[in-house]
């Protein structure tokens, strides 16, 4: 089992979600987050005063997939979230030790 975390542009969420559903990903968790990468924030203007806003709103998605689906899922996220502009985000993949389904008590791959 692997955990895929991806930070993406908020307006790309729908496309990414649809893509992941096409390959039978069972579920996902979405969080509104703020942060900065190399894009380094943006500028806001209030009554003529320019403010440097360091943290830009992004969407973080988390999906847990069986190992065989990882490369496919990552490829979909990469394709669907891409605009080619600065600030497109990042994808992180990590190993996952255990998953438990609370209602049934199933664990491992069955629990995903």
């Amino acid at each position: 089992m692997k955990k895929i975390e991806a930070i993406i542009k908020p307006f790309k969420l729908d496309e990414v979600k649809e893509g992941l559903m096409e390959i039978d990903v069972k579920g996902m968790t979405v969080t509104e987050v703020k942060g900065f990468g190399r894009q380094k924030g943006h500028t806001e203007i209030y009554r003529g005063a320019e403010y440097r806003v360091d943290f830009v709103p992004k969407i973080k998605i988390e999906v847990i997939v069986p190992a065989e689906l990882v490369s496919q899922a990552v490829k979909i996220i990469e394709e669907r979230a891409k605009t080619g502009q600065i600030g497109d985000g990042k994808i992180f993949v990590s190993s996952l030790e255990e998953a438990i389904r609370i209602r049934t008590g199933e664990s491992g791959k069955e629990a995903i």
Partner: protein
Amino acid sequence: MINGGDTAFILFSSALVMFMTPGLALFYGGMVRSKNVLATIMQSFIIIGLVTVIWVLWGYSLAFGPDVGGIVGSLSWFGLRGVGLSPSPDYATTIPHQAFMIFQCMFAVITPALITGAFAERMKFSSLMVFIVLWSTLVYAPLAHWVWGSGGWLGKLGALDFAGGTVVHISSGVSALAAVLIIAKRKGYGREQFIPHNLPMTITGTAILWFGWFGFNAGSALASDGLAAGAFVTTHVAAATASLTWLFAEWILHDKPTTLGAASGAVAGLVAITPAAGFVSPISALIIGGLAGIICYMGVLAKSKLGYDDSLDVVGIHGVGGTWGALATGLFASTAVNPGGADGLFYGNPGQLWIQFLSVVATIVFAFVMTFIILKLLDAIMGLKVSDEEEVRGLDITQHSEAGYSL
């Protein structure tokens, strides 16, 4: 002789002007950080209660009571003694005296509320309450007497102030300047970001202010007549034009047209037309408002150059806009519009501009010096600013034990 139409109009206008103060509370409340939203709203809202009580007890008497040397009214109308339901011989002679009194009460309420924007996010609530009592008594009441009171020296001099350019806007703007020179800056000023937390709230407040301003200016005709209609029109025209000019000014200078800019422009236009509303033509209002949008925007930009922390730009909008409006009245006033007024410079009477200038200078000096003294004293006795820790936690929790938003 009481006139039914006039009375109905002034009572309704009084309600409109009352509504401006909660509108101002939202206008200011949206511009602060979320941890200070309730405290900011409260600083305007509680003034409705506080100043109304002062007004009924002694404020109205000091402002409009029997003249003492052109400077102030006497206390013989303390507790509204003699202020009854028949018309006064001196003020608004076609409506009940109490209708005039309550209309004026709403002006006395909103004026100190305007000042609170200058020290938003850092003033101690207890000190604010004391400041408002002293300011209403020692600054507002005498100023109102000078301009509008029977026998007041600025009124006798021939200064034109239709609805309170000097009494309301210059006085609050200049007092705001005195306040920010005394009350220390917000923690992190110049390093941290003070970004408005809810601009839709600010826009809602602007809409309420604009709506209420029709009562403020048209109601200042003190009768339901042609003058009221004229003031209504000039008020709207100036606000509309100023919202456009501010917007375009920042579009050119900063590349983006902002909603806060459009809203600020509208308020700047309303401020500038206030002294002129009943004395100028709609086209003059267009020019006064149009220039107000640009001048006030420059006034706000100057703040960061001068380095004082006027949190919500009371000086830049009310001080600068009020001064421009009072002087513009001396340029654009026309007896063709209002035979009871005077001609301004552009209608062949340069003397009026001089009189307007004198009234501006007198108001600035008086309001600045008095506010400076009041705040210096209060600072020494009870302190004006909350502690650093309270400021960081926010005034909502530390002053009122409440949170504006729970999530």
